[in-house]
């Protein structure tokens, strides 16, 4: 694996889309299975579902002082509101992962490396909306494969989903990964 200088990831969407879980899984995978340092922070409103929700992961091989995103290297936007709110903080040339069904409008699209993955549609096809985060993580994997092993992400997913859903989450991860790689899916 390559040395990682400070790399900043932001995930944003609505409560209930797995925003917080994606951040937690990424942070755990980098820290426990890649030996890197990472800080995961999140913020959400008082609502348990449907409110604005944001999660951030800062990864580095060195010490991490400021725990939040300053200029994101990677932004996963799961709603149009989330994209509109935070797109200005994405670095020029940064990676933007969106679900084209919930994010229709990307201003200055050519400034970023945009990847469209119908995470919700794939999740529904597999068994329901609750698998959207594993689909998104799968789609994300090829984009960060220079920093993390597939097995690290899979282990962290297994730790963070109910034991009876590990298998189906692994399937969701695989489908997302296939789509992300352009292997053809959905």
């Amino acid at each position: 694996m390559n040395k990682t200088p400070r790399f900043e990831i932001r995930i944003a969407g609505f409560g209930g889309q797995g925003v917080v879980t994606i951040g937690r899984i990424l942070g755990e995978a980098f820290t426990l299975y890649e030996g890197k340092n990472s800080v995961n922070t999140h913020s959400y409103g008082p609502e348990s579902r449907g409110g604005a929700c944001k999660s951030e992961v800062v990864v580095s091989d060195g010490e991490i002082h400021y725990p939040n995103v300053r200029k994101a290297d990677l932004f996963i936007a799961l709603s149009q509101v989330a994209l509109d709110t935070y797109i200005a903080d994405l670095k020029g040339g940064g990676i933007l992962l969106i679900d084209p069904h919930s994010v229709k409008n990307v201003p200055s699209r050519s400034k970023y490396r945009v990847y469209e993955v119908p995470t919700m549609e794939i999740a529904h096809d597999i068994g329901g909306v609750k698998f959207q985060n594993s689909v998104a993580l799968g789609a994300l994997y090829p984009l960060i494969a220079h920093m993390i092993k597939e097995s690290s992400l899979r282990k962290a997913i297994s730790n963070n989903v109910p034991p009876e859903t590990v298998e189906i989450n692994m399937g969701a991860f695989k489908r997302g990964m296939q789509y992300g790689r352009g292997d053809g899916d959905s």
Binding site: G23, T31, H65, Y66, P67, R70
Partner: protein, 398 residues
């Protein structure tokens, strides 16, 4: 006097099934805090939920029963703090976590705990105030920690800056509370409490756990036991161990008598409380410093803000600005003498805080003749960005 350096019993972690084993974990600050408390030997959690301290309580509700402890959801924060007092006098270390509005409700019991010299630990996961304010991060209870309760009476307050440190300082909070027989506060913020970071649990035999000194440890037989005597920090008899347990929050004499009141007795009783903490500030209080050697300007910070302050200090130095960094690990007792010794003379002191400028007051008082000015850098509801601190520094010194 022996008590002034502490004569609490020192031991290691008592192994218990389900205690977090040595190793590396990826935990939230609130989870690390609970794990630290369990390793320190705490076995009672009594609390009432409030955002952003709900995660702490929820995690405690799972973990305390697993290690043979007790988790009690009380009817409110007043009862929670009182349950801590009862538990501690029964001989069991006790913890609660709350946030600003709950911390306000606990102040009466805190005052009683100070006077009755009750070891107990309260974690305040600060949110914006006043009133219900908002659920976002804040450092607005820093002064309440010291002055919120009625009466002259010092406490100890610690301010962790990371997940690793909230684990370590929660253990230290229990050690200090046992050693000095006083309530100890872990003053954290939503930021650290909700953040996930690596936590390394060291081998248990490397973790120091201190226990209150008991009359049995001094060889004092029950008939000679003075509940408030023998040493600066009196040995504490727990209920049911054959000693006369004297729980009192009125002005009292060494033998616990409250009827022979005199102004002299009053002075002696309260002055002793003051001296045991404030008089030992140099021993109790810890600070961390970096880049002090050549610094012309200094950032003094604590808690989560120290994360931004360090980033800002590093970037300021990259730009050729001679900026130093100093972090208060202990807020109270305020480390005035230590600060004066370490800082020397500087031009400007910057104090970034998630309030409108609270700790800048004792900092100014301590260093007024060692600097030209003290500049407050306030932020409410959000952690300062490094850019913001840097821009304020540049504005002032250019």
């Amino acid at each position: 006097m022996a008590g002034e350096t502490g004569t609490a019993k020192v031991g290691g972690v008592s192994p218990a099934p389900h205690l977090l084993r040595p190793g590396k974990y990826y935990l939230q600050g609130s989870e690390a805090c609970i794990e630290g408390s369990l390793i320190a030997g705490c076995r009672v959690y009594a609390g009432y939920p409030i955002t952003p301290a709900v995660e702490t309580m929820e995690y405690a509700s799972r973990r305390f029963p697993q290690v043979g402890g007790r988790f009690i959801q009380m009817e409110d924060e007043i009862a929670s703090a009182c349950a801590l007092i009862g538990s501690s006098w029964g001989g069991t270390k006790a913890l609660t976590a709350t946030s600003g509005p709950g911390f306000s409700l606990m102040q009466e019991a805190i005052s009683i705990a100070i006077m009755s010299e009750t070891p107990m630990v309260i974690v305040d996961i600060q949110r914006s105030g006043p009133g219900q304010g908002y659920i976002t991060a804040s450092q607005q209870d820093i002064m309440q920690a010291r002055w919120g309760h009625h009466g002259d009476g010092p406490i100890i307050a610690l301010a962790p800056g990371s997940v690793q440190e909230i684990f370590e300082l929660t253990i230290e909070a229990f050690n200090l509370s046992e050693q000095w027989r006083t309530p100890v506060f872990v003053m954290t913020e939503e930021t650290v409490a909700h953040m996930r970071e690596p936590l390394v649990v060291p081998p248990w035999n490397e973790v120091e756990v201190r226990e209150r000194k008991k009359p049995q440890d001094l060889g004092v037989p029950p008939r000679d036991y003075l509940p408030w005597g023998h040493d600066t920090v009196a040995p504490m008899a727990n209920w049911g161990e054959g000693y006369n347990v004297n729980f009192v929050a009125l002005v009292h004499l060494e033998d616990g008598n409250i009827t022979r009141y005199s102004p002299e007795a009053n002075y002696h009783c309260v002055e002793r409380l003051q001296k045991k903490i404030e008089g030992n500030a140099d021993t109790i209080a810890r600070i961390e410093a970096k880049f002090l050697g050549d610094c012309k300007h200094l950032i003094v910070c604590y808690g989560a803000v120290s994360r931004t302050a360090m980033e800002a200090a590093i970037e300021a130095r990259e730009r050729g600005l001679e900026v130093g960094y100093l972090r208060l690990i202990t807020l109270w007792p305020f480390p005035e003498e230590k600060l004066r010794r370490i800082v020397g003379t500087v031009d400007t002191i910057f104090v970034p805080e998630m309030n409108l400028g609270m700790m800048r007051h004792p900092i100014t008082e301590a260093l007024r003749d060692q600097c030209k000015k003290v500049v407050s850098i306030p932020s409410l509801g959000i952690l300062h960005s490094p850019e913001y601190i840097l821009s304020r520094i540049q504005e002032e010194i250019s």
